[in-house]
Symmetry: D2
Subunit: 399 residues, 4 copies
C-alpha cells in the first residue's frame, strides 16, 4: 500500500501543468472565439489547435494514453496526467488523448489487422485525422446493447451496412475520416455474438450526417455529436474488426479504458472548478465578509475536496487493477468509478457555479461547459443504473 | 382548509391547456427553427410568436398575472394557470406573462406616474414592446443588494446614469425599449435608502449592449441575457420611479410576485418532464422489460410526483398568504418556495433526462433547456443561500 | 383553495397546546423515571399516565381521532391536533389517540359486530384496556402482505389460530387484552381473499409472548414491541371480523387512517425538534459566536422549516381527500405522505441532534427517541419502497 | 502507487478473520445476554470478555494499534485489521484496541513519565484495567475546545480539580481505574496554552459518577457513557501529563490516531452491514421475486460497495500520510476521513436496516447498535462541521 506518485509521474505532472498554463489555458478563449466567429462553425477547426498539437508532440506529451506508445505509461501512471488534460475542454485533443479517438486507437491496436493499422491507426496516432464511434441508436434503449438494430450484411466481398446512429461524438469534425460502426451480422446467433464492429469511411456513399445534436445548448462545434444515417453503405469485407460476432467482446474491451479515461478527465474538471471557486470566494464580499468566511461556502469547499479525493483514489485503484490483474478482472472497479466520477464532478462543479452566481452558468468560466459534459457521462458508455446493476451482481456473487 | 380549485380556475385551466395543446406545443419547433436559421438570431423575433400572442389576446388569456387587469385573478387563482404556461419555454410570452416584463409591469402599476404608465406600461400591457431589468452587476456579489455600485446622479433636470449591469434578461430582444435600472442616488444615506430605480430608454445615448451571455450553451436568442454598459446616460428627472431612495423598497415589492411566478412556471416545467418521462418509459424496453417496470424508474416517478406536489402546495400557500395578509407578511413563505421550486424542478427534470438517455440532454425534448433555466433560478432573484438565511432569521425571531 | 384552519380547529389547537404545556411535557420525565426505576418495567404503567388520561377526558380532548365520536372531527380538523399530540412520545396515549389502538378502534367501529363492539370497542374507547395488532411475521418479507403464513382454521364453532407474529406493538402492555390477528383462512382462494382478521384475547391458551423487541436500544416499556407465538389458540367463530377472506380488505381500510395519523404525529415530533434546535442554538456559543449566527446552522433551520411545511401541506391535502372523496380515492396521496413524513422527520430531527452535540443522542431531550420511532415508520405499515411503487403505478395509469 | 496489502498484512487479516468467526461472533449473544440478565448491568463485565481477551493475547493479536508494541504495525498495516475488529461491537476490546483506552495508552506512551507509565500504562497494555477520557462538558459547546470550563488549580504539591464532564465513555466500567482529565490551569494564558491534562484516579475523593447517558436507547453497559462530577479532587502534582498548558497540544496529538481508528472500525461495521444485507436479500422473497432481483435493492448494494470502498481508500491514504509525513502534516486527511467515515457507515447501515425491515432496527442483528454508535461519531472527537471548517481552511491556504 503506497500512495505516492513515482518520480517519473511527478516529473510528467510538472511538465504537463506547465504546458497547460503556458499553452492551453491562454488559448481556450482563442479557440472559442474562432468557433463563434465562423459563419459555419463546422467547416474548420481553429488553427490554434494544430499549433498546440505540434508543441505537445515536440514536448513528447503525445499519445500518453497508450501503453504501447511513446512513454509507455501504465494506467496508474497515466491517470494523474489525464486528469490534468481534463482540466480544459480543449485539453485532451492537444495531447491526442481525446475521446472517442483514444478508444478507437485502442481497438485498432488490439484488434486491427496490419492493413487496418497502416490505413487508419497511423494517421490517428499522428493526429492527422479524427474518427467517431457509431454505436448508440435513436430508436431503442441503447443502455441495453443487445437492443441494437443496425445491420451489417455480407454480400460477396463486401458488407452492406444500414442503420441509424446518434451521439457519434466527433462525427461533425471536418477531419473525421472514419467511423467504427457496431451492428448485427447474425441476429440469430447467441445474444452476445450477434454483433460485429466494422470500419466505415465517412466518405463512403450512403453515409449521411443528418444533424449535430446539442448538449444543454452546446453544439461542441467543430467536434460535435452527430446523428448519422448509414443507408446501404458498402465496405470491403477486410474492414471488419477481429471477425464477425466479435462486436460485443470488442465493446467490452474498448469501453474499460475509455470509461476510466473519462473518469480521470472528470476529476480534472472538478479540480479546476474547486480551484476557481476558492479563488472567487476569497475575492468577493457579501454581507460584510468575504464569501470564503461563510460557513456554507466552507462546507462546499470541504465537501468538494473530499469528493474529489475519494473519486481520485477509486480511479487510481481501478487503474492499478487494470495494470495488475487486467481489464476484465477490474470490471467491478471500472463500473464503480463510472458511477462515481460523473456525479462527483457534477456536485463539485455545481457548487462552484453556485458560488460564482450568474458568472457560473455563463461562458466566462469553464464550469458550465464542464458540467454539461459531465452530465452526459452519467448516460454515455452506459448509464449509471446499468453500472450499479453490474456492481451489485458482482457483489452478490459472493453469497 | 380547502384544497380544490374554484370552478372559475378549473375552467381557465381547461381553456389554457387546450390552447397549449393546439397552439403552443405544436409551434415550439417552428419557433426554434426560425431562430436557428437566422443569420443573426438577435435581429428578429419569430413571427409565430406574434401570431400566437394575437390568439391569446383574442381568447382573453392575456395579462393573467396582473390582479388589476382583465380577469382580475388573485395569486392563488393565477398559480395553476401560470404553471400551465411554464410547461413551455415559449409559453409565458404568448400570454404576456413572461419575466422580466411582468415584474416591470407590476412596478409601473404600483409605483409609476401617470405619464410613465401611458408611455411605458400601456405598450407593455399590449405586448407591443419588451423591457429589461438592470440590477445585477458583474463586479460585485449581487446576492447582497447593498453591494450595487451603479450611480444615478442628479444634474439639473436630468439624472446621469453610469454602471455595468449584466443578466439583464430580455435586453437582447429587438423589441426591448427600456430598462428599469437600479443604482445609488445617495451613497451616504441609510443602507436601504441609498438606491433608486429609474426608467432608461434603450436608445438613449450611452446605453451599450456589450454582449449576450449564455446559460450553459443556450443564448436564449432573441430574448437573451444582456451585459449592458451605461455610460453617462442622461434621462429626465421624471423617469425616476416613486422617488429617490426608494429602489430597495421597490425591489422588495417587485421581487415577491416575480419570485413566485418563477416558482409556478418551474412546477409546470417539472410536471411536463414527469409527463414526458412516463410516456417514454412505457415505450422503451431494456433487459427484456419496459423501463416502466423497473423499480428504480418507478422510484423516480414516485419521488417526482411527491416533489412536485409538495412544491405546488407550498407555492399555493404562499400565494394564498400574498392574497390574504399581503406580500410583506408572506415573505417567509415566498423565500421558502424560492428555495424549494428550482431545486425540485432540477431533480425532477434530471430524472427525466436520465430516463431518456442521450435524447434527454438534446434539443429533441424540452428538458435540457428547462433544466438550464431552472438552474439559473437557484441564483437569480437571490441565491438559495440568501433565502435560506432569510427563512432562518424569521424562524429564530420567535425565540 | 383555502389554507386557514377553521375557528373550531384554532380553538382546539390552543386548548391542546395548553394541555401539553401544563400537563404532558412536565410529566415526560416523571413517566420515564417510573419506568426506569421499576424492577420489571413491563409489570405496570406509570400511574401518571392514568392521571393525565383522566384530565384529558375531562377536558373533552378524548378520542379526537374518531370521526364518529365526541367532537366528530374530520381528518383535516384532526390533523393539526394529532400533530400537537405527536410532539411528545407519551402524548397520543394521554388523549386515547395512540397506535395501534386507534387503528383497532376504527376496525371495530367499521367492521365489528355489536357483540364485538360492546366487549372490546367500548373499553378501548374508554381507555380501560389496550390492544395490539398481529400482522407482521418474522419468517417472511411482510412488505408483501400476501406472504403471510399464519393460519386461521375453522373447527366446529371455533377457529384454531397458529402463527408467529412480531412487531405487535403494545403487546407488552400489562393492560393489553386482545390482539387483532391476521392469517389465512383459505390459502387456495384468490390472492386477496385468502386472509381474515380475528379477535384473539391475550389470555387465551396458546398465546405466548416470546419477547419484546428493541428499537435502536429502546424497549419502549411498558408498551413495547412483542413477538408473539400463537400455538393452536382457539376462539369462538364469532370473533372473526366482518367475515372470512376479508382480512386484506380490512387491512386496506385500516391502514389508511393509521398511516396518516403516523404522519401527523411525525410532523409534531419534527416541529418539536426544530423548536428545541432554535432554542439551543441561540444559547450556545462556539468560535466566539452563538451557533444561531453560523450559516450552516441557519441552513439547517431553514431547510427544516421548509421540510416540515411541505410535509404538513401534503398531509393536510391527503386528509382533505379522505374527507371529500374517501380513503380509497385518496390512496395515492396517503402513499405519498407515508413516504414523505418519516424521512422528513428523520432529517429534521437529525439536524437538531447534530446541533445539540452529545445531548442530542441522549435521554435529556426527546429527539433521539423520536428519531428511533420515526425510523421504524419507514418500515412499519409498508416500507417506503412499497409505497413508492404504489404511487408510480397510479401515476403510470394515466398513460 | 500500490494498492495491495503486504503479505504480512494479508496473513494477519486471515488470522483475525478466523478469530472473529470462531471466537467473537459466536459470543456476541453470550455477552449481551449476560448483560441483559444482570440485576445491575454496571456491576460486572461478562466473563466471556476476559476469556476472549486471553485467547487474543495468546494469538498475539493484542495491542495491534500501537506502533511501539508487539507486532509494531504502521497505521497502514493496522487499518485493515482494525476494520475487522470493528465488525463487532465487542470486537475491539477483545484485542485491547478499544476506545478510549487506545487513545489514553497513546498519550501515556508519548507524554507519560516513567512513573505514570508503570502505574497506569502497563496495566492498560495488559488489559487489566480500563480508563476514561474526561474532556467534553455539558454546559458549553465542546465543539470549540477553548470553551472548556473545568479547573485544575495548583495547591502546594497537589492539583485541585473541579468540573463537570460527560460522555466520558468507559467511565461506567467497573474496571475503570483512572480518567485523563482536561481543564484549565491558567485561564489567562494564550488561548491554546490555558489547558492541561492530568491523571485522576477514579477512586479519588470528590470523583462522583452522576449517571450513565444513553445513546439512542443503548446504555452500552457495562462500558457506558458517564457524566462525572469532579468536586475539588486532589491529586499529586506528578499526575500532570507533560506539563502545565500542554493540554491542547496533547489533545491534538491524541485525537489524530483516535479519529482514524474510529474510521477504520466504521468501515468494518459498514462492511458487515453490507454482508448481512446481501445474505438477507438473497433469501427473502417479495412480489414473487427475491429481494436481490429488485433494482432498488441492487442500487443499495452497489452504492454501499462504492461508499465503503472510497472511504476505505481515503482512510488508508490518511494512515499512509501519518506513517510517512506525520500526524501533523496529515491533519487535513484525518479531518477528511473523520467527516466521511461516520456518514458513510450511517448510509450503508441504514440501507441494510431498510432491507431487513423490522429485524433491522432490533437486537437480532448488529446494524441498529452499529448505527447508533456511528451516529455519535458525527459528533464525538469534533462534529462534522468543525472538521469541514478545518478542511476548508487548509484548502483556502493555497490561494
Amino acid at each position: 500500500m503506497k500512495f505516492d506518485y513515482s518520480e517519473k509521474v511527478k516529473a510528467l505532472q510538472g511538465q504537463l501543468t506547465d504546458f497547460m498554463e503556458s499553452v492551453v489555458y491562454p488559448n481556450e478563449r482563442t479557440y472559442e472565439e474562432y468557433v463563434d466567429n465562423q459563419q459555419d462553425p463546422w467547416s474548420s477547426v481553429p488553427p490554434i489547435m494544430e499549433e498546440m498539437k505540434t508543441k505537445a508532440k515536440q514536448a513528447e506529451l503525445w499519445n500518453l494514453f497508450l501503453p504501447e506508445e511513446g512513454r509507455k505509461l501504465t494506467n496508474v501512471e497515466y491517470a494523474p496526467l489525464c486528469e490534468i488534460m481534463g482540466r480544459s475542454v480543449i485539453g485532451p485533443e492537444v495531447f491526442n488523448c481525446n475521446a472517442p479517438d483514444t478508444g478507437n486507437m485502442e481497438v485498432l491496436v488490439r484488434y486491427g489487422s496490419e492493413e487496418q493499422k497502416s490505413q487508419w491507426l497511423d494517421p490517428l496516432l499522428n493526429g492527422e485525422i479524427r474518427s467517431c464511434f457509431a454505436m448508440t441508436e435513436p430508436d431503442v434503449a441503447s443502455s441495453d446493447a443487445t437492443n441494437i438494430e443496425a445491420k451489417i450484411e455480407r454480400d460477396g466481398d463486401e458488407y452492406v451496412i444500414s442503420g441509424k446512429k446518434w451521439w457519434s461524438s466527433g462525427g461533425g469534425d471536418p477531419r473525421c475520416k472514419f467511423a467504427i460502426f457496431m451492428g448485427k451480422t447474425d441476429p440469430d446467433a447467441h445474444r452476445y455474438e450477434q454483433q460485429s464492429m466494422i470500419i466505415v469511411p465517412m466518405d463512403a456513399p450512403g453515409v449521411k450526417i443528418k444533424r449535430k445534436l446539442s448538449v444543454f445548448g452546446y453544439t461542441h462545434a467543430p467536434h460535435g455529436h452527430a446523428e448519422i444515417e448509414f443507408d446501404h453503405v458498402r465496405v470491403p469485407v477486410s474492414n471488419i474488426l477481429w471477425g464477425e460476432g466479435k462486436g460485443f467482446a470488442i465493446a467490452q474491451g474498448r469501453l474499460g479504458p475509455g470509461r476510466i479515461h473519462h473518469c480521470m478527465r472528470l476529476i480534472g474538471s472538478a479540480e479546476r472548478a474547486l480551484e476557481e471557486m476558492c479563488k472567487r470566494v476569497k475575492e468577493r464580499v457579501a454581507f460584510q465578509r468575504p464569501l470564503a468566511d461563510q460557513g456554507v461556502i466552507q462546507a462546499w469547499i470541504a465537501d468538494s475536496r473530499i469528493d474529489i479525493e475519494q473519486a481520485r483514489l477509486l480511479t487510481l485503484k481501478a487503474a492499478y487493477m487494470m495494470d495488475t490483474v487486467g481489464n476484465k478482472e477490474a470490471k467491478k472497479e471500472i463500473a464503480m468509478i463510472k458511477v462515481v466520477a460523473p456525479s462527483m464532478a457534477l456536485r463539485v462543479i455545481d457548487r462552484a457555479i453556485q458560488a460564482f452566481g450568474g458568472a457560473g452558468v455563463s461562458e466566462d468560466f469553464p464550469m458550465a461547459n464542464h458540467w454539461a459534459q459531465a452530465r452526459t457521462l452519467r448516460i454515455a458508455d452506459g448509464p449509471d443504473e446499468v453500472h450499479r446493476r453490474a456492481v451489485a451482481k458482482q457483489e452478490l456473487l459472493d453469497y
